[in-house]
């Protein structure tokens, strides 16, 4: 699998990562060699093999749909970690023009 600078830029955009020109160049070769290594999986016949997403013999685990206030700490403490907050809100740039 040949990885081009364009591929790197496309994936970086999907991943929401701003990369410098230097980084783009530095990620191309390792990505290519790792993907090349990974290609060995094509030797395995998996036509009749089901996928494993996790190993536990369980599907859904249900609970009552009830709010648990302070499960992740108090609102005040959580907002203290915000780069920018206003009242009870996280503040970001205007989303809709």
């Amino acid at each position: 699998m040949k990885i081009t600078k364009k591929d790197v830029e496309h994936v970086a955009r999907l991943a929401r990562l701003a990369l410098s020109e230097d980084e783009k160049a530095r990620y191309t070769a390792p990505l290519e060699s790792i993907l090349e290594y990974i290609d060995k999986l094509n030797k395995v016949d998996t036509a009749h093999v089901p996928p494993t997403s996790h190993v536990l013999p369980m599907s859904n685990v249900w609970r009552e749909d009830q709010a648990e206030p302070n499960r992740l700490g108090s609102q005040t403490d959580i907002l203290k970690n915000a780069p920018e907050a206003e009242g009870p809100f996280f503040k970001v740039k205007k989303v809709i023009e």
Binding site: D7, V8, H10, V11, A12, R13, L14, A15, R16, L17, A18, L19, S20, E23, R26, Y27, P30, L31, S33, I34, L35, Y37, I38, K40, L41, N42, V44, T46, V49, P50, P51, T52, S53, H54, V55, L56, M58, V61, R63, R71, L72, G73, S74, D77, I78, K80, N81, A82, P83, E84, F90, V92, K93, K94, V95
Partner: protein
């Protein structure tokens, strides 16, 4: 006799018997940390004041005749990807610098209840991605056996802290070997429990289908003590299953007669250092002398484990790490024209090179047109890898392998070549893919005095057998009691 030579089990016994106070123990260990930290750099942060407060609380309960927990007054070091309420939690990443945890991870909550004393947050490869602890944004941790060498990773700080006896116990997390490989390279015990044995609530996620929290210790008995406290179901993590938690300490005492050990031929390969191969085979002879039988087995899909892992783990990581976007917490880029640019710049500035590489790899594997070729394919091969183990465990009770193909390597040696770095996890990854428990125990030293680890893999939820094997082995061989010269030297104040 110093505190450093005592196990956690002995410490808690003596504190309960009031032979010494929890405060004396905490003070002694904090002094050791102060003395050794400049050489080892195991910690991102040391909780001096809080640790003493926790220890004093234990002493005051004892003074009042109140009940104390099974880890009363035992100092423990915590990997810096586990949330401790009120303390910073960084994952050794610039993107989380300054974050204060607003709640306790379930494992931390349980440790608090058991009376443990948190001495500090230990260094790791950024977001637990790495095998050497060199990928930390705050500098590399040194191997206590040779400061020119890496301690392994990603839980390198926790492994080094226990190896240098800066704490008798530590917690780490293991996604592809991040507890067992550093344990092997630092000469301590490291256990990755069965997937679902320990709640992951409050562990900052790397790859959710593979991550598990587990103990570092200097003896099987201590490992059992710590696992017993942190194991069990949890309403906050639906994958922490409702399976009874055995009395691990009692299980240790059963003998090894008739225990069947399997040696997978795919793990005894030419690429492993000769000294390691020899030490592992010596250990197996010792176990045979204790009543175990040994037979060769086969895990035919072994050669695909690394490739499967390097699709699944980065894919899950690329999804998990999407939450770090500069909005609710963590680093936010100073100048951005719009919200999209804020995400891209904050993440571009906040993440280190290996984390970016894995996010890129995972995003690529999950992207439109490649999902079936990579992610879906890897999930299918994962099934075959798990089936190999299911079949093997019909014939044997435990599987034994080297933990790592080589002893601790020099700092900087593998930084330039990610694939070479990834290959150092070649023996530890299958355990996570199959969700099994895996324990690394010290089984020798190289001619250059670097620790060697023996890996034991068990049936799901059969940590008890692994710990029992380790416990009996320790009675016959004393590798777990060997300390690096830096830790064993008398220049310290921690005297009992």
């Amino acid at each position: 006799m110093t505190f450093a030579h005592l196990t956690a089990t002995e410490i808690v016994k003596k504190i309960r018997a009031k032979e010494f106070t929890a405060k004396a123990v905490a003070t002694a260990y904090l002094d050791r940390i102060k003395l050794l930290e400049p050489k080892i750099k195991a910690f991102n942060e040391v909780f001096n004041a809080q640790a003493l407060k926790q220890a004093e609380a234990v002493d005051s309960r004892l003074a009042k005749g109140e009940a104390v927990g099974p880890l009363a007054g035992v100092p423990i070091a915590i990997k810096d990807n586990l949330m401790i309420r009120g303390e910073h939690c960084t994952c050794s990443s610039k993107i989380l610098q300054g974050l204060t945890a607003t709640y306790d991870a379930t494992a931390i909550k349980k440790l608090r209840g058991a009376g443990a004393v948190f001495v500090g947050h230990t260094n790791l490869d950024e977001f637990a991605m790495g095998s050497s602890t060199e990928n930390s944004a705050f500098g590399a941790t040194r191997n206590p056996w040779d400061p020119e060498r890496i301690p392994g990773g990603s839980s390198g700080g926790s492994a080094a802290a226990v190896a240098a006896r800066m704490a008798p116990l530590a917690l780490g997390s293991d996604t592809g070997g991040s507890i067992r490989q550093p344990a092997a390279l630092c000469g301590v015990l490291g256990l990755k429990p069965t997937y679902g044995r320990v709640s992951r609530f409050g562990l900052i996620a790397f790859a959710s289908s593979l991550d598990q929290i587990g103990p570092f210790a200097a003896s099987a008995e201590d490992c059992a003590l710590l696992l017993h406290v942190i194991a069990g179901s949890d309403g906050q993590d639906s994958t922490a299953v409702d399976q009874p938690v055995p009395d691990y300490a009692a299980e240790l005492k059963k003998d090894l007669n008739g225990l069947r050990i399997g040696l997978p031929k795919e793990y005894f390969i030419a690429g492993t250092d000769k000294e390691i191969d020899k030490a592992v085979r010596e250990a197996l002879k010792t176990l045979q002398g204790l009543g175990a039988t040994v037979k060769e087995i086969s895990l035919p899909h072994t050669e695909y484990c690394l490739a499967v892992y390097y699709i699944l783990a980065p894919s899950e990581a690329s999804s998990n790490l999407s939450r770090f976007d500069g909005v609710r917490y963590g680093h936010r880029a100073a100048q951005s024209a719009n919200l999209l640019e804020l995400y891209e710049k904050s993440r571009g500035e906040g993440f280190g090179p290996e984390v970016k590489r894995r996010i890129m790899l995972g995003t690529y594997a999950l992207s439109s047109g490649y999902y079936d070729a990579y992610y879906a394919k890897a999930q299918k091969v994962r099934t075959l890898i798990k089936q190999d183990f299911d079949k093997a465990f019909e014939q044997v009770d435990v599987i034994a392998t080297p933990t790592s193909p080589s002893a601790a390597f020099k700092m900087g040696e593998k930084v330039a070549d990610p694939l070479q770095m990834y290959l150092s996890d070649i023996f530890t990854i299958s355990c996570n893919l199959a969700g099994l428990p895996g324990l690394s125990i010290p089984c020798g030293l190289t001619a250059g005095h670097l620790p060697i680890g023996l890996q034991l893999l068990g049936k799901p939820f059969d940590e008890a057998t692994l710990l029992r094997v380790a416990h009996h082995y320790e009675q016959a061989a004393d590798w777990n009691r060997r300390m690096p010269p830096v830790a064993a030297s008398g220049k310290e104040s921690a005297r009992a």
